[in-house]
Amino acid sequence: MTTAGPAGEVFDLGYQRYEGAREGRGRARSALFWDGVRISLGLGRSASQKVLPWLFILLAIGPAIMIVVIASFASQFGDAGEILGDFGNGSYFEFAFVPLLAFGVAVGPALLCPDRRENVLALYLVRPLTSYDYVAARSFAFLAVSLVVTYLPQVVIFATLTMTSRAPATYLTENWLDVPRFVASGFVISVFATSLAMAAASLTDRRAVATAGAIGLVLVLAAAAGLLHDVAGQAGRYLELLQVPPTITTVNNWIFGEEVGPLPGVAYLGSVAGFVALFAVVTWNRYRRVRA
Amino acid sequence: MSDSRTVNGTVRVHHLSKWYGPVVAVNDVSFEIGAGVTGLLGPNGAGKTTLLRMVAGLANPSEGTVEVLGKQVRNNPEVLARIGVLPEHDGVYGFMTGRQFVELNGRLSGAHDVTAAVDRAIGAVQLADAQHRALAGYSRGMRQRMRLAGALVHDPGLLLLDEPLSGADPRQRLHFMEIVRRLAGEGRTIVISSHVLEDVEAVADRILLMVSGKLAAAGDYRAIRRKLNERPFHLRVVCSDARRMAAALMETPRVDSVAIDGDGSLRVLSRDVEALQRAVPEVAQARGIRLMRFEPLDDTLESVFSYISER
């Protein structure tokens, strides 16, 4: 209601009801997802919040940068591929796996822990979404970022190797399989890192504790399996499956068509899948009992 | 009941100060209070809890003295035995029964003839029926009362209660206040610190109002109100002819303003409330106006509190 006179107008600034669109659960999930992406990259926060994600991202893509530099340099002298030898898409994850996992466990908990620690979760759970929506949106947001960080370097490496080889077209036809391979392998790594991070974040309200716990778990599994291996002899082969970092690199090599042993490659994949399932159940369970 | 409880000046505080580095929590406070209920009020951070802790002997003053029953409180077990404290947050062991809890307190505070003391304390808070049940099963109000019994068991002359009613519902509040009134009637000195002014208004004989570590006002809140001369008094007058009454009142000296509300009642501001208290019935009678209502509007503890805090 405006009062318009010859010399002036007064506008109604009182409270207005909202008559616009209400997009329900879909909008809620997408808002949480994009907010999760922002948290994963430390965007829109103070500088100190950005350090951790970008530090690990840099570490993860470090090897790729190296490979690109070497390849560009080497291409002047001959076939870059030959000079690089084993360094390429197939072996990339052997170097990048640890930083990628570190990115996961260092940054992942930021998506779940602060909301519980600061009790913001209560405010989310009374919105048009379920607690599963919440945890799924947060987890997928981190997974999405992790996949980008995982794939981007591989894409750059593949492009570089193609362009710096003597005969790019030939390189492409001979090596195009590498692309679906690194997609699959990268997917395994990202899903593993994300699910581990989310599970750790579900068990404690403190980010640092979650990170430490996740690292501790990996180390303990590796050490325990190693110990038992010496003791158990034959059956010890199966205990190898519990040693997580080597198992994942084994899966990577298996995907890229290399010989793996002593167990069949699918066993290692199964082991990783098993861990992911376990972590998912832990996370699921925590958010099943809604407490606000 | 010992005589020392009925002596006036149970708590005597003299130029008391307490600072933590640059933060002055209590700043040169002096007062004297005796039997009855004293309300300790103030905004957050005014220093109420620090003051109570010094009176209870739980904190040492930076300057000044605190005397209870004529003796310094510092490191004086004899005096401390005459003080009962009910802090704001206190855990109780849920597995204990109410009686066991009070007994424990009795033994710790060196009460004589613990059994009789426990009976008396539990009787005073009217929880004899529930005393053998575990505390975990008590309602909020019952737990507060049992904690009060724990603070009472050694028959203290001075009781310090910090937000004793947080979380209690109206029925529990009324019940608790009844108990407090009765204890005060026995000659004890009770200090209640609370943010809920209506509780304090209902039960306190006098108040101590602290602002930023200093004592801003003390005594009966109505008397305090009258001393705040710079604030005109607000009164509401409902009568049969508002406009004629308003005109007549405006002719009265000492009336600052008269406003007519939407419902036809008058809102009068005056710095001399006594003059108004005489004038209104006289004016009404002289002009044949029926007087239906005459009410002070800011004579409440709430108004006094906000006026003093804002000064």
Partner: protein, 302 residues
Amino acid sequence: MTVLLRASNLTKRFGNTVALESVSFDVHDGITGLLGSNGAGKSTALRLFLGLLRPDGGSADFVGAGTADRVAARQRIGYMPEHDCLPTHVSAAEFLTHIAQVSGLPPHEARTRATDVLRHVGLGEERYRPMGGYSTGMKQRAKLAQAFVHDPVIVLLDEPTSGLDPAGRQEMLELIGRTGRDFGISILLSSHLMGDVERTCDRVIVLEGGHLAREGEVARLVEETETLVVQVHHGLDELMSTLGARGVAARLEGGAIVVDRATGEDMDRIRDAIVESGALLYRLAPRRHSLTEVFQSPGSAA
């Protein structure tokens, strides 16, 4: 009067404790108070309406939602929890925009609503600073803002004055009153303080020990009686005798003069008696009922 929330034989247990025992009540539009001690079932009732808990028996329905979809219905309800719940490193403006989106508003509208609502609750420049640095008063305002940024039909407030000093409590109650009356948003206010309810609510529902003890209109429960109370500063005895002489049926009660069923003529006689006796009039007003009376009558043991 529309019913917004309905509890039907609502029961909820936590282990051996019964928080709510077959409680039935309706919450209408307007400002309703839910009064009871902590542990009487108030918070439990709120959480059941919000879908944060499932009942063990009966139901707690948000009938004013306009949809049967329980999840989508939460777009029309708001919640202000008692505890701290604001992220410390985010500003109010940013958080409100985000939470408005999580409530279903498209991004552009979310930002506009957030700005407007922050103005209505009285947060100025501070809205751009991280909430970790806010004073208690500012935090309460931000908490209230997020409860109705999405223009809900009803907002549930859990002990909104908890921990506030008298000035803060007064401000919060005024803000709540404004939200209910000026903005037209219905409110269910849960509190253990009668004063909160008396000052802001139209209706009150009283819970004691998990049962419904009383419900009704606040105005009805605090309405004036026909009994007139006269308080004077001095001259009480003279006034009593003068009143007697003029034929007014007055009695003394706790230091005040009380006249039951006072008529207009009685008032005139009282006025004249005051002038004649020279008593100094402090208060002349009808006695009001008070919510306190509800609790002085026998009820479930505390």
